[in-house]
């Protein structure tokens, strides 16, 4: 049923819109407010409700204003951006996602205008607000700007690395002092921060293969590093996964040896039917435990199956072999 907007002055209509919103009729409330803007374009309550932003004598939607902000940033019109548009946008940011988007624009604008320390504070606030893993990147940027309040970063190696070794075209930075105003320099500095974030995890890969807690901690460290610089940890994740999967497979093989000893012992001891049944159940349980380790290994190596050589195939064959043993045991259990 089509609803029509009742006539009336703007304030009364706005009150109606708020009522509609409060009762869950959000789209009706939105429609009423849009209608009000035709009667009274500058009604502040209505515009706030619609998340509209006023800039350059024009009202625009939040997303339009963000796009305008990007344009101003690219064209270097920072005073206008920082002095007028961004404060308006921030006032209208009613969700965490919007606050983060505006915060990021503000930070970038402040960096471009040389206000590095202020930008550092913005990113520190954002890292407290943002969920993981995004918070890690903001925290890294806050750290960089706090450590380098003059916006100068010391690059130790050429960046990007691929350009240096492959001689690719496009811009690259040589080692030495660079400005964080330069997007490529900021990218390079985040690369270094990401490398720092995963340094301890890299050293612990061998330990992580044997210790599930260290393994989880290493994965988290790699997640953090990848949040700061996408995919930086990939080679190490592959190594970690292969090492952990191989360790689990090794444990499964040891357990299987013990299992086989127990099976051999079965036929050598006299026992009544109940005891035999109990033994079979025990063996099946042990087999489930062995299979669980192999399944875990398989899950760990699955994302990196292409790079893991024959390990996924070996685990699959082990599981298939276990399945044959399980079928035999189950058949025996069923018969008895």
């Amino acid at each position: 049923m089509k609803r029509s907007v009742p006539a009336g002055n703007a304030d009364e209509l706005f009150a109606l819109a708020l009522q509609a919103d409060a009762t869950g009729c959000k789209s009706l409330a939105y429609m009423i407010c849009l209608q009000i803007t035709a009667i009274e374009p500058s009604h502040p309550g209505v515009r706030r409700f619609l998340n509209h932003v006023r800039f350059d004598s024009r009202w625009m939607t939040f997303d339009e204003a963000v796009a305008k902000a990007e344009t101003l940033l690219e064209s270097g019109r920072l005073e206008l951006l920082l002095g007028r548009l961004l404060p308006e946008l921030m006032a209208q940011s009613d969700t965490t996602a919007r606050r983060l988007a505006v915060g990021n624009l503000t930070g970038r604008a402040q960096i471009q205008s040389g206000q590095f320390a202020a930008a550092g504070k913005i990113y520190a606030d954002m890292s407290a607000m943002a969920p993981a893993p995004a918070c890690h990147k903001y925290a890294a940027m806050a750290e960089l700007l706090t450590e380098n309040p003059d916006g100068m970063y010391l690059l130790a190696e050429p960046y990007p690395g691929a350009a240096a070794i492959l001689g690719q075209g496009g811009r690259h930075l040589v080692p030495g002092p660079v400005s964080l105003k330069d997007n490529l320099a900021m990218e390079a500095s985040l690369h270094d921060k990401a490398a720092e974030a995963m340094a301890e995890a890299i050293k612990a890969i061998t330990k992580a293969a044997r210790n599930p807690q260290v393994f989880v901690a290493a994965q988290k460290a790699f997640d953090k590093a990848d949040a700061i610089y996408p995919n930086i940890s990939r080679s190490y994740r592959i190594e970690l996964a292969a090492a952990r999967a191989a360790e689990l497979r090794g444990q499964a093989q040891l357990d299987l040896k013990a299992f086989n000893h127990a099976v051999e012992a079965l036929g050598q001891t006299a026992m009544d039917a109940g005891a035999y049944h109990g033994m079979l159940v025990g063996l099946l349980t042990a087999l489930e435990g062995i299979a669980a380790k192999l399944v875990q290994a398989s899950e760990i190596i699955k994302p990196h199956a292409k790079e893991a050589g024959d390990l996924p195939g070996q685990i699959a064959r082990d599981l298939s072999g276990l399945e044959n043993i399980r079928s035999t045991l189950k058949a025996e259990l069923h018969d008895k």
């Binding site: 100068m152 010391l154 240096a164 492959l166 002092p177 610089y229």
Partner: protein, 405 residues
């Protein structure tokens, strides 16, 4: 009476605020200067970058140290090496940041080495009178030693020269690999007068061989050993001995110790040893480039995984040298050491290169690397052939290039 206190009270309140505002203003000014200098440096205006950074440098403190770093970089890029070192030293002395101090220290060291290399280019040639003295073979053995070297030779001067030079070359190779501890053995170097004496004393080796390096296990103790030949087939002092053969064999021993037995891939063992030679042989690079042009080169994956040069050994060694030289030329010293360390810890070649260069791992990288290496090799080969032809047509005797140590 109240009026007497108003002005001092106002001053007391205003003073801290004024000081803070002044400090912030100085700091803002300093940031502005640093940023201006960096922009000029990035755009290649090194002189202007120096001028822009100087007021901040003269202001002292941490900002001053950072400004000195910009000035040092600008001077280095202008080729003003001595004054670049001065600026790096000033940066190091005034900075409270360990990262900055360490960087400035390393840079000053690197630039000093660069100056020394430029002043004393290595020609790999031995003066005639020295060659005559070193060709003398006495009946008795003479001995000389250095901390990690023990030499036995039939020429006292040769024994001393080899001992001192071998120590320097060993340390260069050892620390160049990235080792952080001292080389733990004493290497025994036996210099045999000629091929007959060498063949009798050294392990079975091809006819063309005149030097070997090996590690003997004597009563459970590892004793590295090098056997060398003093004279060439013409009875003259072998001019390759000090600048090519000795560094080559020492590098083999350093690599063997650093990587552990059987853990360094063959292409890398041989590539590093050939790179250690002071006066490189351009024929290797020429052969490598020619094989690419003729589509006869071993693929990179096969090259890095070969344990023995089964097919065309000469080509294998040339390609090995070419690949290792290419990687070394494209990586910084720290990156190359990181690459070696990754290989040492069992990392596959493609992963090791990408990790060392800080590149996020991609399967397709190795194909791009192979293509870039191929182009590099062909260009080098063409250039070296052109140089050789030019030298030959000028009527001068052909000499090996200095090449990379």
């Amino acid at each position: 009476m109240i009026n007497r206190y108003i002005i001092p009270a106002v001053l007391l309140i205003a003073a801290p605020v004024a000081i803070t505002v002044a400090a912030e203003s100085r700091s803002d000014k300093s940031v502005e200067l640093i940023q201006k200098a960096l922009a000029l440096l990035e755009s290649g205006n090194e002189n202007a970058a120096q001028q822009a950074a100087m007021p901040a440098a003269n202001a002292g403190g941490e900002q001053g140290a950072r400004a000195w770093l910009i000035i040092a970089t600008a001077r280095y890029r202008l080729g003003e090496l001595e004054s670049a070192i001065e600026a790096y030293d000033l940066c190091r002395k005034t900075s409270s940041s360990k990262t900055i101090r360490d960087y400035a220290f390393d840079r000053a060291l690197t630039v000093r080495k660069e100056i020394r290399t430029r002043l004393k280019p290595e020609t790999g040639e031995i003066p005639q009178d020295a060659a005559k003295r070193l060709a003398k073979v006495e009946q008795v053995f003479h001995f000389a030693s250095a901390p990690n070297i023990f030499v036995r030779a039939r020429n006292p001067e040769l024994a001393r020269v080899i001992a001192s030079r071998a120590q320097i070359l060993l340390e260069k190779a050892w620390y160049g690999l990235g080792a952080e501890i001292k080389y733990p053995h004493q290497i025994r170097i036996f210099v045999h007068a000629d091929r007959h004496e060498y063949a009798a004393a050294a392990p079975p080796s091809p006819d063309w061989s005149c030097a070997t390096a090996r590690v003997d296990n004597i009563d459970g103790k590892l004793i590295p050993r090098i056997d060398l030949t003093q004279l060439d087939e013409n009875g003259q002092f072998d001019s390759r001995l000090l600048d090519r053969i000795l560094p080559h064999e020492l590098c083999h021993l350093a690599v063997s110790e650093y990587f552990g037995p059987d853990r360094c891939p063959l292409f890398l063992t041989e590539g590093l040893a050939m790179m250690a030679e002071k006066a490189g042989d351009p024929s290797r690079q020429i052969l490598a480039g020619q094989s690419f042009m003729a589509d006869d080169a071993t693929g990179i994956n096969d090259l890095v995984s070969q344990e023995m040069p089964l097919r065309k050994p000469e080509l294998f060694y040339s390609l090995s040298y070419s690949l290792v030289e290419f990687l070394h030329s494209r990586m910084s010293s720290a990156q190359f050491k990181a690459f070696l360390n990754h290989i040492r810890t069992g990392c596959p070649f493609s992963h090791a290169v990408q990790r060392a260069m800080g590149i996020s791992y991609e399967e397709g990288f190795i194909a791009l690397l192979a293509e870039t290496w191929k182009k590099h090799s062909m260009q080098q080969s063409a250039l070296l052939q052109a140089v050789q032809q030019a030298v030959q047509s000028a009527g001068k005797p052909d000499k090996p290039d200095a090449g990379k140590p």
